[in-house]
Amino acid sequence: MSVKSLSSSSLTNNVFYRSLLVGNDPFIPFTAADDLLAEVTLTSSASSVTFSGLGAYSDYKHLQIRMVSRSTSTSGNNVGFRMNGDTGSNYASHRLYGNGSGVFPSSASSIDKALYYLQPISSDDTGNFGSGIIDLLDFSSTSKTATLRWMYGFQTTNSHVGLCSGLWNNTAAVTSLEIAPFSDNFAIGSRFSLVGIR
């Protein structure tokens, strides 16, 4: 954008401007479409992490959770998702994952949480965390059930990579999201970032 000088374009040339922009383009502040809304990094192990008060973010269209996590459990690597504190059998999940030796699709319906997000357990390589990105589109809509879509992966002694989904069969706006391992806790250092997308 070329900038017109006030002294050369309006005062000395006797040009009449109705705006103090004196013919310059208006400056429109840049707004990024994505913002970090909240972040939790565990300094002690925790049985769950909950993002609540999501109704305050209704000026965002979509939400995304970026997870880096590990379980303290010796055997259980599953993580579940619940919305708005609903513990009823109002969820379903589907997955497609591989572990280096095969490809495994599966499904579950009328369950009490969305599932199939996996993470390393305590017997896996020390300090190795799994990562995943979970998308929740149109989270404020009251015309849609909530569909979570996520990819996750980790490379340890027990490796997984997967594309999965979860249904909360309720058309209420999502106002809270709980993330919890099926057994034991998330390990220290696990991180959960809530991102809003316009």
């Binding site: 479409a33 269209k61 379903a92 599966s106 589109l137 069969n169």
Partner: protein, 167 residues
């Protein structure tokens, strides 16, 4: 990385046979489309069809890997007259459930072929929920300036599509 919203399209009452983005600015490096959609007919899923710059010649190719809740399959690469970026919910799935799809076009202003990766899911309270990964390409030297998104029959009301530049 900077993510900038170009436009969100929301399908209104009565549905829409297609969704189109035009006048896509060439100011980014990559494009990201997210689609939350459901169709007015069908049983479990409908494949989404997409053209770029209204190009309907056989300039697209795709490789697919997907699961349907009980089996997994892969196919391609195929040469096609349109992209198939993934699936959305059809009318026979759980009421008010919409498919969730993410599509990424790398270097969309490049004069080389464009690489396009997608992941999509459809959810339903039953066995037949789909997860699909696609690798697509568009063999065309033009910058992506418009995007036409179609399904068999209509997108239902409340379907949304958001397009972003990534730079």
């Amino acid at each position: 990385m900077t993510m900038t919203l170009i436009e969100t399209v929301t399908v209104g009452s009565g549905g829409a046979s297609s969704i189109e983005f035009t006048g896509i600015p060439g100011t980014g490096k990559d494009l990201l489309l997210v689609l939350s959609a459901r169709t007015s007919t069908g049983t479990n899923i409908r494949g989404v069809s997409m053209t770029l710059n209204n190009d309907t010649a056989t300039n697209y190719s795709r490789l697919r890997f997907y699961g349907d809740g009980s089996s997994a399959s892969t196919s391609g690469p195929h040469s096609e007259a349109a992209l198939e970026p993934g699936y959305v919910n059809a009318a026979g799935t759980t009421a008010n459930s919409f498919g969730s799809l993410s599509l990424y076009i790398s270097n969309y202003t490049s004069t080389a072929s464009k690489s396009i990766s997608t992941d999509s899911v459809t959810e339903t309270n039953g066995t037949a929920g789909y997860q699909a990964l696609y690798a697509n390409s568009w063999n065309n030297a033009a910058a992506v300036a418009s995007m036409q998104i179609d399904v068999t029959d209509d997108f239902v009301e409340h379907s949304t599509a958001s397009l972003y530049t990534i730079s």
